[in-house]
């Protein structure tokens, strides 16, 4: 037992030296997790699109149409940048990117309202961003309902103030946006990116270490046989994993605690719960990374092997496309990566304030992953040493 712990400790310390001697690994383990979250938070920091530029074609030119324009312009999301005499002129403004949408008020707008017929305002939106469409549609709808209520009161009301109010709206409604009150993009996307950064930099960093051993034919050093020691792959794997995981505990404080604090993302979770949840996540991600790392046959190959998977992992994690709408086989694929339960759990705890019992499914899944990937990492290690390490095979080193 004592030997076991000593060996693990020995491997742990030696791996720390390997990590800190290599500039590439320092870049991936420390600089990237330090800088990347800041960059992403900065990109999405404004949360939503305000003052989307719209050009109005007003064929009605009446008191009512002017009221409509004034009210739309007054909303936070839309800004009327000008008026066009016809649709062609408005389209030209869109082509030149002076506006991202057109609102068309028909000639009979005022007449229809005054003769109690329904009238229609057309909203044309550039689809380069759904945010533009949403902003225009919501603002126009809001104003149309509001004006509609006034018109209704004028037509059918005429009773007391109470009755007018009831005519304005028989049933009221209220939208409560939970966990992300300002409906922001950063608050929704960045927490998932943060978890993914931890996993992906682990993969790239460890792959770089293994690739460098391969390049330099340093297998004996990697397996510590050079120092005349014979350390079992299980201890090697666990010792190294502890080295990486312990470093990442420190890094996680910055990535998962300080970054959300600085950029004011929703952060209502209990830090201790997050720490407890992080334990299996870091272990699972470390062992996952170690298993994959043995495919990296050269120092530089980690990038080409694994970087593109970040895109897949973020999309199949169910952060943007709802998890319930993802086909079952893809859900199964998604659960290969620790980032999937990691993202689910972190968002539930950090953004939605869940307790550990609420995330037991993810918590268990991560421990299972940690167990499985620990085993595969040991086998990969064994395979790697047996294939490459002459000392281990009892050959003579030259």
């Amino acid at each position: 037992m004592k030997k076991l712990l000593l060996d693990i400790y020995y491997v742990w310390i030696n791996e720390l030296k390997v990590v800190f001697k290599d500039g590439a690994v320092i870049l991936l383990f420390f600089i990237v997790p330090l800088a990347y979250p800041v960059l992403y938070s900065f990109i999405y920091n404004n949360e939503t699109a305000h003052e989307v530029k719209v050009v109005v074609v007003d064929d009605s030119n009446s008191a009512l149409s002017r009221e409509f324009k004034r009210k739309v312009d007054a909303t936070a999301d839309v800004k009327i940048i000008g008026y066009a005499t016809d649709m062609e002129e408005a389209r030209e403004a869109m082509r030149r990117k002076e506006a991202y949408g057109i609102m068309y008020i028909p000639r009979d707008f005022s007449k229809n309202i005054n003769t109690q017929q329904q009238t229609q305002i057309s909203v044309f939106s550039d689809m380069s961003s759904l945010l533009f469409y949403k902003a225009m549609l919501l603002s126009a709808t809001e104003v149309s309902l509001d004006m509609g209520a006034d018109i209704r009161v004028a037509e059918t009301g005429g009773g007391s103030q109470e009755e007018d109010a009831a005519t304005r709206q028989t049933v009221e409604n209220q939208w409560v946006t939970m966990y992300n009150p300002q409906n922001g993009f950063a608050s929704f996307l960045v927490p998932a990116i943060l978890i993914l950064i931890i996993q992906q930099t682990l993969i790239l960093g460890i792959a770089t270490i293994v690739g460098t051993h391969n390049d330099k034919k340093r297998f004996t050093i990697a397996s510590h046989t050079a120092q005349g020691k014979s350390v079992h792959p299980v201890k090697l794997t666990i010792g190294k994993a502890f080295c990486y995981a312990s470093l990442y505990m420190l890094i996680s404080v910055w990535v998962l605690r300080v970054i959300p604090y600085i950029f004011k993302f929703p952060q209502i979770g209990d830090p201790l719960t997050i720490a407890a949840f992080l334990m299996p996540f870091l272990l699972a991600a470390t062992f996952f990374a170690m298993t994959l790392s043995y495919f990296c046959s050269q120092r530089e190959f980690g990038m080409m092997l694994f970087v593109f998977t970040s895109v897949l992992f973020i999309f199949i994690s169910g952060i943007s496309w709802p998890w319930t709408a993802i086909p079952e086989p893809i859900k199964a694929i998604a659960y290969i990566a620790p980032s999937t339960p990691g993202i689910h759990g972190f968002i539930k705890i950090n953004t939605m304030g869940a307790t550990l019992t609420d995330v037991w499914l993810e918590y268990i899944a991560l421990w299972i992953q940690a167990g499985i990937y620990c085993t595969t990492a040991v086998f990969m290690y064994k395979w790697w040493i047996q294939n490459y390490d002459p000392e281990y095979k009892g050959m003579v080193r030259n």
């Binding site: 329904q118 229609q120 689809m127 939208w175 966990y179 092997l305 897949l312």
Partner: protein, 389 residues
């Protein structure tokens, strides 16, 4: 020492290197194919449908039950729980079992008819912004419908005829025209940029590695000799095989997107194909530029992957650059994918005359021109042939 020299010799040699390299097969062929299968499959339905929600109905009358039935019939909404308390529903929300809760207050029906204006409150889980927004649309509609249903009864009581009622309930309607993507299809919206983004990422990395790996293997000067000491010949001979492969991949994307899945392509084949082709050249140029600036195989690769990954965000297809900080909006011009995206919107979606996109096409080609300035550096790197870790 070399049998053959010139562009064609280098070209042939590179072709062999690609086909015998596991990393090239994985990175250039498997990676985009795998990504495409998974992403297209996942978003196959275009819009997420049947997102689970809970209704907390404290009134429970025929009116509210009809309302719930109507809501359940909506495409995007699936009412999973009807008999939970609000507290239980909220717990389900925390467990990601449901994404919204609609609450109907006690005495809702009675209050509505007697003009007491009861309030429907709906809670959406906006930690998942897209599900939250989609459900909001359905919930808003059902609330408006509820208001209308009661309004209808009141209006009928006041003696209005049926034809008069709708104009009274909703005098102004909004007719929305999302230009170019009328179905608001997320698969169209995302995959059209995600896949070229992955292609750009791959090109950046493999352009750096096709020179870096030579230097690492100590074959830089051999390569220069093979190219008759002309860096232009070396670069063309080495990069052309990749250009051909990437163009093949672009053909594959175009056929899958626009001809099999029928994504909108209002401009026809050529402007979009030209767009892909310019993106490929621009990304190859950028790869050369990065290697020329950083002069270290590994560091250039790291920067290439950083740029490749940031492209997905800074291009602004999900979160518009106009909503970003001004400096980032300006910075986005240094990313080829940004120009690709602008051309895509104008050509494939809006189908405006190609002339309006000329500036963007030119911007993509500028990356190629800029790369020429770094040819000297690449030549020196190959001749000196010093591999730094």
């Amino acid at each position: 020492m070399t049998k053959e020299t010139g562009i064609s010799a280098i070209f042939k040699r590179e072709w062999l290197r690609i086909s015998s390299s596991k990393i090239c097969i994985w990175g250039i062929f498997v990676a985009p194919l795998l990504s495409m299968i998974i992403l297209l499959w996942m978003m196959g339905s275009g819009l997420p449908s049947r997102i689970p929600i809970a209704v907390v109905d404290l009134d429970n009358t025929t009116t509210t039950r009809t309302l719930i039935r109507q809501l359940d019939a909506f495409e995007k909404t699936d009412i999973k729980y009807k008999s939970l308390s609000f507290r239980e529903a909220r717990q389900q929300m925390e467990r990601m079992e449901i994404y919204a809760i609609l609450t109907i207050p006690k005495d809702f029906t009675e209050d509505a008819i007697s003009g007491n204006r009861p309030k429907l409150v709906y809670y959406t889980n906006n930690a998942f912004l897209i599900s939250g927004s989609l459900l909001f649309q359905d919930l808003k509609t059902i609330s408006t419908l509820a208001s209308a249903a009661v309004g209808l009864q009141t209006a009928e009581a006041k003696g209005f005829t049926e034809n008069q009622i709708m104009p009274i309930l909703q005098p102004i309607t909004i007719d929305a025209h999302p230009l170019g993507n009328p179905w608001l299809n997320y698969s169209v919206y995302l995959n059209n940029i995600l896949m070229p983004g992955i292609l750009q990422l791959i090109i950046l990395m493999f352009t750096v590695s096709c020179f870096g790996s030579e230097i690492k293997a100590g074959r830089g000067s051999y390569l220069m000799a093979m190219g008759d000491n002309s860096i232009l010949k070396v670069i063309i001979g080495k990069l052309l095989p990749y250009t051909i492969i990437y163009t093949g991949i672009a053909f594959f994307f175009i056929s899958i997107f626009y001809y099999i899945n029928n994504f909108p392509l209002h401009s026809g084949f050529w402007p979009m194909f030209l767009n892909y082709f310019c993106l490929i050249l621009a990304a190859q140029g950028m790869g050369v530029i990065l290697l020329g600036i950083f002069r270290n195989y590994r560091l250039s690769l790291s920067i290439a992957s950083l740029i490749g990954m940031v492209s997905f965000s800074i291009t602004g297809f999900s979160f518009s650059t106009l909503a970003m900080d001004g400096s980032l909006s300006a910075l986005s011009n240094f990313f080829p994918l940004r120009h690709f995206f602008l051309i895509y919107v104008d050509q494939a979606l809006n189908s405006i005359p190609v002339g309006y996109s000329m500036y963007q096409y030119a911007a993509l080609l500028v990356f190629v021109l800029l790369a020429v300035f770094f040819f000297g550096v690449i030549r020196k790197m190959l001749t000196d042939n010093v591999y730094e870790e």
